[in-house]
Symmetry: C2
Subunit: 371 residues, 2 copies
Amino acid sequence: MATRDPVLLTPGPTPVPPAIRQAMAQPMIHHRTSEFQAILKEAGTGLKEIFKTAQDVYILTSSGTGAMEMAIANILSPGDEALVIRGGKFGERWAEICEAYGVTVVAIDSPWGTPLDLKQVSAALAAHPGIKAVFSTLCETSTGVTFDIRGIRKAMGSSGALLAVDAISGLGAEPFAMDEWGVDVAVSGSQKGLMLPPGLAFIAFSAKAQEAATKSKSRKYYFDLALAKKAWADTDTPFTPAITLIIGLVESLKYIRSVGGVDKLIARNQAQADGIRKSLLGLGFEMYADPACASNSVIAAKVPAGVDGKDLLKRLRSQHGVIIAGGQGKETGKIIRIASMGAIGPQEIKAGFDALEKVLSEMRGKVPDHA
Amino acid sequence: MATRDPVLLTPGPTPVPPAIRQAMAQPMIHHRTSEFQAILKEAGTGLKEIFKTAQDVYILTSSGTGAMEMAIANILSPGDEALVIRGGKFGERWAEICEAYGVTVVAIDSPWGTPLDLKQVSAALAAHPGIKAVFSTLCETSTGVTFDIRGIRKAMGSSGALLAVDAISGLGAEPFAMDEWGVDVAVSGSQKGLMLPPGLAFIAFSAKAQEAATKSKSRKYYFDLALAKKAWADTDTPFTPAITLIIGLVESLKYIRSVGGVDKLIARNQAQADGIRKSLLGLGFEMYADPACASNSVIAAKVPAGVDGKDLLKRLRSQHGVIIAGGQGKETGKIIRIASMGAIGPQEIKAGFDALEKVLSEMRGKVPDHA
């Protein structure tokens, strides 16, 4: 990376490698051509490998929230009951969309930064046997917590409810296996582990979820699974797709294959995340997330006492071109969040920590030793 | 344009100029920064000039269809009645989305390729006084017809119905003036006159439409105007936006200003469209759209007798890299459609017609004179 380029260590968007950017900068092509059909096919095949599913993965032109809405609007109807596991801003979004669609929400409010008490899941389902779907988050970007999806599925026991997972942050960065884990709807986005610009969302439905979709009475059009399925059968999308981003997606999938596949990428992220945690502790930060549930996609840490979190972010950006994220919602100004996913590598992390060390020393009133 | 590049003469996507592609290929930036806020502000200001409205123009990450859905989902409620003017594939889409949202559709089926009989509009409103909104298309891409939006507004007389216009094809390419023409909801997309890749949609609401939106009982979230308005007040979008496409949008708006503004661009398109029509007639094509309503964004022509329309398109593409569109729906194989909007200029049109002449001669069994 050239020194003039910003160092993006945010949990979405993540940096987009030059080869992907160049692929997207080629002259525009038309989407109703055999050339684009081949691209769409390749993208679909690659996404199935990343989702670890035998189901089709539909590519949407929307942010990840659009795919979350597609999940709810297709598997539920107004008046249905759903269990939403909330432990941060994105868990809350599941509930907001459910409510917008007239779905009654039973919520588990897992304290931010802590592991989910799985007993709450079985208890909620026992108390509300009418629950038709359970919504969870793979990696809660706002807190740096990874939820135990396999544990949730197990805790659901013999409940007939569907399990829908927001894997927007986390897919391609943390272990995830849609079919093996019994996930019925998995959604993701382009700007996280897949190292693309934002603008695409992805969604896959289990056979059971597809069956439920045929019975949904929710009103929808742009996010109608039936339209997506019909078009996909002809290697097409129901509406003009974001062509350049899908071209970039194929490059990203090629890159992931070139490094040995998604599991290798996930292992690299984990090692990086461990390194980031160690460096943060060395600089006097305290981890925000309990180690039992700490994410390897995004690492959240409490801003040390006496340091102004907002000022820290501002100095990093203005003086060093290093962009990290702050806290969201009730944690605004109190935590920082550093991503370890997608194309983020040793060079970016080193640049980020060199800057962080300098800025912290400055803010604590002393010059760093090696300055 | 380098000779190896394809010549894209399709009515969406249209070619994306190199300067715009390069701007989008820069290293990724984060959307919650003052840098991106400035970009968003500039994009919003430029879009108001193109829409010719004093209202805010919201930028959506979706295809144009998403903005059409946002129009319906915000100004109407299930059980409402709407008048849809259909004269091609995209007029039909308004009706499909209305039906998906439980809106009762009164339709005017204007024969494809002909001007709308405005008396039908006043008659439909008189027969159905409960109609809450009228939906029309500025330029019907599937037929190359431009609808007389001012005429429709006039024909609506004293009806209190809202007027919603799909200006996806046509905006930046044909005259359009949201406020002056009394349009209540205008929607558009990125991949037509604005010479960008597909992936962004735009929408603006009149004061009256905004008032109606506060009363809508339609369920929505991703396309909820209230969320868009709230975010926009903070120069933000409610969900992670398609950052690179918005960076491209600012470049496109700069380009439009550099050629003297949108009216100059529209005048250029009109002159080009006249030239395209003349060349097509010279090659033995017959115009598809009645001259009284012929679009200047996309020119549709009937494939000459004895020529296989599908084969024509295939030869143009495989032998010359020239991409033009065929017919859609019932006109598949029977018409061709050539765009004259966005960044399409004399060079692309010449390359297109050189190829068209050669292919036609070949197909008619003779070699062109200048071969």
